[in-house]
Subunit: 412 residues, 2 copies
């Protein structure tokens, strides 16, 4: 193989050091000290390769290798370098390290392509800090405005605009991060599977055909706070009991919709939140995903029906605030063909599959041909300290993309 | 009447000014600036009456009027002056103002009793800051140790011992707050009902016969955190779905136990707590109350059975940590007789009742004869900004206790 296992391992381990919760998994929120550390590491490695290193107005990091044709559109390769709270070392960095290793091999082998090739490491894909995910790719596709930067706030009330300014970026320039479709030839991402399928079916590589659609929203249920000792059970309007009736049914709704539809309540907050007060208000998030838009809509409708039932039965009121609504998308057939052909040639076993997670690749389909490669996740785990991908598996994914990039880039 | 409506109203309104959340109800946590303000107001008012004003090692405030018999045990009157988060003006202060007004009338009328009479305003009854309620009375009955002060921490990790020290009290002296049974003749508390019964039955006053027992504990349910998009529904160990199955059944358990038993889940926290992560851990509190110990035990057992069922069905583990376990208690028959006789004489309508809330009176029964008077709560509301008691109702409660104290105190 052209790629080097020890370099891949070292990159993953070095990036894992930039972490705000050592000993409790990896936490690297955007525009923090941990972000700064990882950013400097990546820029330093890219600089060693004599690439044009720059950051766009959204804080995404690039390392550009010019093509023979100076005006040709770029092939972008990479993923995100932020993480969830208390996550692992691979979700995001695996794809960033893929791009870094490929740039190294291109330089080592003095490969010259017609099309420019750009390393990209994107920020805030998880939405861990500011609550609004796939941020870096949304900025690159022109979907982020300055007004949104003022509105998106972290748990301490700091807006993204403030955070950008403090970090040295001008948030008013955010639109400059936009890439035009005519300037981009393709985007290829590598990501850990974050599920158990490749491991259980003993496949080296997953080739993604579709990425699921997502509807994420916040539900507020309002009852009435009362004293927990003096209010008879039949005179209460307990917002948590009401919310629990919905949460305990959510598995059923998703299973019933079929087509691998999943639904999750991942956060839930109780107000006022004291052991001796009947909950007066509860807010919780719902995340529904499916490869079929109609299945997402079906689960959403069942949740709304359940809320109406709770309202009528218990006299509570409710409200829904949409946070994310993304349609399912399809990856490029052309890139898929090159992936398959290359995998056959290299002798890697692969499976064509559906991605259950949203990725920057999903957003990038709006401006360019996109490919997404999965590598196996040990025990299907992710977003936790136990998240793991064997370096040999990661290397196979990188090797596959290397050959694909060389093919797409057109070496004369 | 001997008591004065305008003084009662002024005291309530003045105390309500010492509040860390103006505009969002009254929040007066122990050993804070709001505590200091209320404390200074009370000490200043007591000083005007030429009483012996002092604070014990637990931070409870006293104003003592000596009796003719210098060695006779004291009659203590009062309640607590802390509040829940975003609560109202009456829960606690109503009984503190009762004691203050009675001391004023005793002085005005130059009443001299055989037994000393002591005003008492107790701290941290709600456990709002340090999580462990009826603190002032537990310290007075010798139930608090220095080790506990080191252990009880607020949400910022400040221990009660640190907070005491910063406030000017020596936490190592906590045992000095203990009152011996032979030094206390009686304790009489006035409190708002915090329930709808007196108002709906149009009674002036509630005379409490029993205070319910309480079992408060924290349940932890441990599942496995997974990615919300890539983990099929049937491969999850979702701690929140499991907890919801319990919470949605808790009303049913309490109703089934009968005898006015109530059960409440007032707090619930989800870990790691992100919209796109299947909850790996949930902690929540359960508060069970009943006048019958056996009913509390029955609900507790049903909760444990449900947890075992969840463990077997979903493969999650769980754990219970006890926070509060108090048996139901009975108030003094002698004091009840004086209350009834006095109410008849004054022409106040009254109802003998059960208290569904824990009170300092409950704890004080372990060292002395105890009486507890309820005054009506508007719409039964409490622990919220809307908490209200008409001043005329409060005055009737105070007047009743004034006559009871004079009788118990033995004027020659």
């Amino acid at each position: 193989m052209f790629t080097k296992l020890e370099r891949i391992k070292r990159d993953i381990e070095e990036l894992a050091k930039f972490n705000s919760t050592p000993g409790e998994g990896l936490t690297r929120f955007s525009l923090t000290d941990a972000d700064r550390g990882a950013r400097n590491y990546l820029k330093s490695e890219l600089s060693k390769l004599n690439l044009k290193v720059y950051e766009d107005a959204a804080g995404n990091i690039f390392g550009r290798m010019d093509g023979k044709d100076k005006k040709a559109p770029s092939i972008l390769i990479g993923s995100h370098f932020d993480s969830v709270k208390n996550g692992g070392n691979f979700d995001g960095p695996a794809g960033v390290v893929m791009a870094l290793e490929i740039m190294r091999v291109l330089r080592e082998r003095n490969v010259v392509t017609k099309y420019p090739i750009e390393f990209v490491a994107m920020i805030e894909e998880e939405g861990g800090r500011f609550g609004s995910g796939v941020f870096g790719s949304r900025a690159m596709t022109g979907k982020v405005t300055y007004a949104q930067l003022l509105n998106n706030k972290d748990s301490e009330g700091i807006s993204m605009a403030e955070a950008f300014e403090k970090f040295g970026f001008d948030p008013r320039e955010i639109k400059k991060a936009q890439r035009r479709p005519e300037d981009v030839k393709a985007f290829i991402e590598l990501h850990i599977e974050q599920g158990p399928i490749l491991e259980s079916e003993k496949k080296d590589i997953g080739l993604v055909e579709f990425i699921v659609g997502i509807n994420e929203f916040e539900v507020t249920v309002k009852g009435r706070p009362d004293h927990a000792g003096t209010t008879p059970m039949n005179m209460r309007k307990d917002a948590l009991v009401a919310a629990s009736q919905l949460v305990s049914n959510i598995e059923h709704f998703a299973t019933e919709a079929g087509n691998g539809t999943v639904a999750t309540v991942g956060t839930l907050n109780v107000f006022p939140g004291a052991a001796n007060i009947v909950p007066g208000k509860v807010t919780f998030t719902v995340d529904i995903r499916s490869k079929k838009k109609s299945c997402i809509e079906k689960v959403r409708k069942q949740i709304e029906s359940k809320l109406i039932e709770i309202q009528e039965k218990l006299g509570l009121s409710w409200d829904i605030k949409d946070m994310l609504l993304v349609d399912p998308v399809e990856m490029s057939h052309e890139i898929m063909d090159i992936f398959e052909e290359t995998a056959e040639k290299l002798g890697f076993s692969y499976k064509k599959m559906i991605s259950g997670a949203g990725h920057d690749a999903m957003v990038m389909t709006s401006i360019t041909d996109t490919g997404l490669v999965f590598v196996p996740s040990k025990n299907g785990r992710s977003h936790c300290p136990e998240e793991w991908t064997d370096y040999e598996d990661l290397q196979r994914g990188i090797e596959l993309i290397y050959h694909t990039v060389v093919k797409l880039g057109e070496v004369e």
